[in-house]
């Protein structure tokens, strides 16, 4: 080892051959080096090493011959069996070759001076470059001399260079300056200051113009950034755009600084060097306008992109701005694409922060309204209002204090508007703010998810769940622009979870299904026994004028009906909400016209059962209730004429009339029974099944739920009320049916009158018979001979009107556009009873 070192020392330092002390000194020094830690840690692998070497070789001889040769040698070396540590040897050679720093590269490695055009095969970077032999004057030199003689030489390039560097920073130079126009609207022009002593050649001018474009763009971008910095209320997306631009500009400043120092280095060299040395150095290291141009090229593109963004940013805001930038990503030029991607990544950060907050916690944090979801400021306060009203509504389950009294009707109605309005109008979707890379379908999903979460949180008071969800989601990584697939995935999951949860909350916590069922059972008369009881209990009071009715009586009757029917087994929470009420009545109306049942709902259930739907429920109730009433009346009347008339009305000459009445009444009963069966079985139950199927599937969001309920209700309204889609004639059948109802009632009255007449007539005859037998039973009542024909005429009139109208209804139904309604027509006239008589 020491021997080898000694040999090395003597070979490399010839002086040490004589001096023994020097030699041992050097050997000791070398041992120190070898024992030190130089290069001890890493051992690059062979491939990397050979790559490095090849690159080195390519740099010194760009033809590639040397590197080819090296590859050859390397493969041959690897074939040799002798050496154990070939790699180390090569590493040694490489580090020895790579160590001498190449002169002139400086801090601009990429644009190092071109390899000197010398012909020697192995240029030695260790030695200083051999100065070039002086040659004869070139033509350029001759031209320059000629110009010098003429007294108007070209302006020296280094002066122009300085000016150009100024221009790049948007500052006017001494020889070249921007035209003094302060307003940015008019195009800035470049002026060359020509003095009498120098000229600037036109190619140079063109070059400077090209360079000055960057400077011009720079001023624009910089002005924008400056302006936004000063302005207040700049959106977050714009802020981050500015931030990114600022970072880019810093990068740009760095480049300019480097160029400047490069320029000053070269100009220093010119000052103290000889002319020859100067030209040489300039060629090797200095900055020229052309080199500057090459340096700036990339920045020119960047600046153009930036200024385009800046221009766009003036008009757009928030998501629209992101959209604008996104539209530049579809570019064939990889450089532009990369730049915009970078920019977008940066710019969309606040957007994704907002999105994250919205998607996972249902909070809208958007101080500058840049998100594609906008909050209605007038509804924002509903958040704080709701808990109190809900607490008041739910807290006392014992009394109906929450609903009691008409005094707070206004208050209730204001709140009642809440649910659906809150859901529909609190947040709005703004399409132009939606970034294109998200897509409209996903935008809708995001919108709905956040809305659901917000709703769960504030209207359903389930914020714990949302918070835990938010925490869980935080572990799943952040959303960002470069990961669109991941974004879509997380949107999908968030959407599903939120919708699922919303369904759960509504069905399990707020018992939506119970409420719907209660509405069907009570308001749509699904509970037959309850309806019968109620009808019976109310029959007496409802025939009185409306102003003689009192609400407390009605509620008491309702209570009785509930107690005496199966309805008492329903949960108290449902029964508590049921209420009897009178509509606003006008003069002359009787109880039947104004009585309604009501079912109270409160937030958040009223999101689904909104006031509009409640109105529809009431409408249905009124119709069905009336039908029920007619049915009840008819059955009572039927009992009377079938039972009573047979047993104690002994007026034989009136038997045919009674027979007629029975026939007509049977017809009416048939009519009303078919009507009822149709409503209950074919309309209500079928629609109910569709709704139940939907709710059991638990798919879709809140909107879907609202929509399902709405279509359920609409379907019932349309079919129960026999509405026709034709405009102007929508209620024609319904009107006929109500007319028929009133005809039946009048007929019933007429038969009652007839019955009474017959009763008194038979009593009179009994009295007569008694008198004949000599038994005096009482005073003879006055007998009016006109009464009987009048009564018979009335009955006949009404029955005629009824059959006529029933026939019209059947015919109209047979031509009804709705299939179910048409089928009702067939049911009514199953035996072709109502066939049009020709």
């Amino acid at each position: 080892m020491a021997q080898a070192l000694e040999a090395l020392v003597t070979a490399l330092v010839p002086a040490s051959r004589d001096g023994h002390a020097l030699r041992s000194d050097l050997v000791a020094h070398c041992e120190d080096i070898l024992n030190s830690h130089i290069g001890g840690h890493n051992e690059p692998d062979l491939g990397h090493l050979s790559d490095l070497i090849k690159r080195q070789l390519l740099q010194s001889s760009p033809t590639g011959a040397a590197s080819l040769k090296f590859t050859n040698l390397l493969s041959r070396l690897l074939d040799q069996p002798v050496l154990l540590r070939k790699q180390a040897s090569i590493h040694f050679l490489q580090s020895l070759a790579g160590s001498p720093s190449q002169p002139g590269v400086g801090f601009l490695p990429v644009l190092g001076p071109p390899p000197p055009p010398r012909t020697s095969p192995s240029p030695s970077p260790v030695e200083p470059p051999v100065s070039r032999l002086p040659k004869g004057k070139s033509r350029a030199d001759i031209l320059r001399d000629y110009r010098l003689k003429n007294g108007r030489p070209h302006l020296p390039e280094n002066l122009l260079l300085r000016d150009t560097l100024y221009l790049l920073q948007g500052i006017s130079g001494k020889y070249v300056r921007f035209s003094a126009q302060d307003d940015s609207e008019t195009e800035n022009k470049l002026l060359f200051v020509e003095d009498s002593k120098h000229v600037i050649s036109s190619p140079t001018k063109a070059l400077i113009l090209r360079l000055a474009e960057v400077g011009h763009l720079y001023t624009r971008v910089e002005a924008f950034v400056r302006e936004r910095e000063e302005a207040s209320g700049v959106g977050m997306i714009e802020q981050s755009l500015c931030h990114h631009l600022q970072a880019q500009l810093t990068e740009y400043y760095r480049l300019i600084a480097i160029l400047e120092s490069q320029m000053s280095a070269s100009s220093n060299g010119t000052r103290d060097g000889s002319l020859e040395g100067r030209s040489l150095r300039e060629e090797e290291t200095g900055l020229t306008l052309r080199r500057l141009d090459v340096w700036i090229t990339e920045w020119r593109l960047r600046m153009r992109m930036m200024s385009v963004c800046v221009e766009g940013a003036r008009g757009a805001q928030g998501g629209a701005l992101v959209n604008l930038i996104h539209s530049y990503t579809d570019n064939g030029d990889p450089f532009v694409r990369k730049f915009t991607d970078q920019l977008l990544e940066e710019v969309s950060k606040p957007f994704f922060a907002t999105l994250h907050k919205w998607l996972f916690s249902g909070e809208l944090y958007d101080p500058f309204s840049e998100f594609f979801v906008a909050m209605d400021p007038t509804l924002a306060h509903m958040q704080s209002l709701h808990p109190s009203s809900l607490a008041g509504g739910i807290a006392p389950p014992s009394g109906d204090g929450g609903f009691g009294g008409f005094a707070d009707v206004d208050d209730i109605s204001v709140e009642r508007e809440g649910g659906l309005k809150l859901w529909e109008a609190k947040y709005q979707f703004q399409e132009d703010m939606l970034p294109m890379f998200v897509g409209e379908a996903f935008g809708n999903k995001i919108f709905s998810t956040g809305k659901s979460l917000n709703f769960i949180r504030y209207s359903c008071h389930d914020s714990d769940w949302v918070v835990t969800r938010e925490k869980m989601s935080n572990t799943g990584g952040t959303l960002k622009y470069s990961d669109i697939a991941g974004l879509e995935r997380s949107i999908d999951t968030a959407y599903q979870i939120a919708s699922q949860r919303l369904f759960e909350v509504f069905i399990d916590k707020f018992k939506l299904l119970d409420h719907l069922r209660a509405l069907k059972n009570y308001l749509l008369l699904g509970y037959g026994d309850f309806a019968d009881q109620l009808m019976e209990a109310l029959n007496g009071s409802l025939t009185r004028p409306a102003n003689a009715l009192y609400r407390h009586n009605l509620t008491a009757t309702l209570e009785t009906a509930i107690r005496s029917s199966n309805a008492q087994n329903d949960p108290p929470d449902v029964l508590r909400r049921l209420d009897a009420r009178m509509l606003e009545y006008s003069h002359g109306e009787i109880g039947w016209d104004v009585f309604i049942l009501e079912y109270k709902v409160e937030p958040p259930i009223d999101t689904v059962l909104d006031p509009d739907s409640m109105v529809k429920y009431l409408k249905l109730f009124k119709h069905l209730w009336q039908m029920k009433r007619i049915e009840g009346t008819l059955s009572v009347g039927w009992m009377r004429i079938v039972g009573g008339a047979r047993t104690f009305l002994r007026v034989p000459e009136l038997e045919p009339q009674w027979h007629q009445i029975r026939i007509v009444m049977a017809e009416m009963i048939h009519f009303i029974r078919q009507m009822q069966a149709y409503c209950q079985l074919e309309v209500i139950e079928c629609s109910w099944k569709v709704l139940l199927d939907f709710l059991n599937k638990k798919e879709g969001d809140m909107d879907a739920m609202i929509e399902a309920h709405r279509s359920y209700l609409d379907r019932m309204v349309k079919k129960v009320l026999l509405l026709s889609p034709k405009s102007g004639k929508q209620e024609s059948v319904l009107n006929l049916v109500t007319e028929v109802f009133s005809t039946i009632l009048m007929f019933r009255e007429a038969t009652d009158n007839f019955y009474n007449y017959c009763l008194s007539e038979s009593a009179r005859r009994d009295g007569q018979l008694d008198a004949e037998r000599g038994v005096y039973t009482g005073t003879e009542p006055a007998h009016d001979p006109d009464t009987l024909p009048r009564l018979i005429q009335q009955v006949k009139d009404y029955s005629g009107v009824f059959s006529e109208r029933a026939q019209t209804i059947v015919h109209q139904l047979q031509a009804h556009p709705d299939l179910d309604c048409r089928f009702l027509g067939i049911r009514l006239s199953f035996s072709d009873f109502y066939r049009r008589k020709t």
């Binding site: 070979a11 002086a15 290069g39 390397l74 070396l77 540590r85 030695s124």
Partner: protein, 75 residues
């Protein structure tokens, strides 16, 4: 038999050294063949290549200094 194997070995060593020398010329390390042989031997015996390169450079610098000194002395 053994002599022929020895001869083989010697020739392959020679070839290897030739290749390495050629590489060294290509990389412009300015090592002559003897120094290169010494260095390769040292590396084979386990010396760190980078440290060895540092040694060579150190020695070269030392030499340059010495030569300058001598010149100054001579003047």
């Amino acid at each position: 038999m053994s002599s022929s194997r020895d001869a083989d070995r010697i020739s392959s060593v020679q070839q290897t050294l030739d290749i390495l020398h050629e590489m060294s010329q290509l990389l412009n390390t300015q090592l002559d063949k003897e120094t290169l042989t010494t260095c390769v031997r040292m590396i084979e015996s386990g010396v760190n290549p980078e440290a060895l390169a540092a040694v060579i450079q150190e020695l070269r610098r030392e030499n340059g200094r010495l030569v300058l000194q001598q010149d100054a002395n001579a003047r």
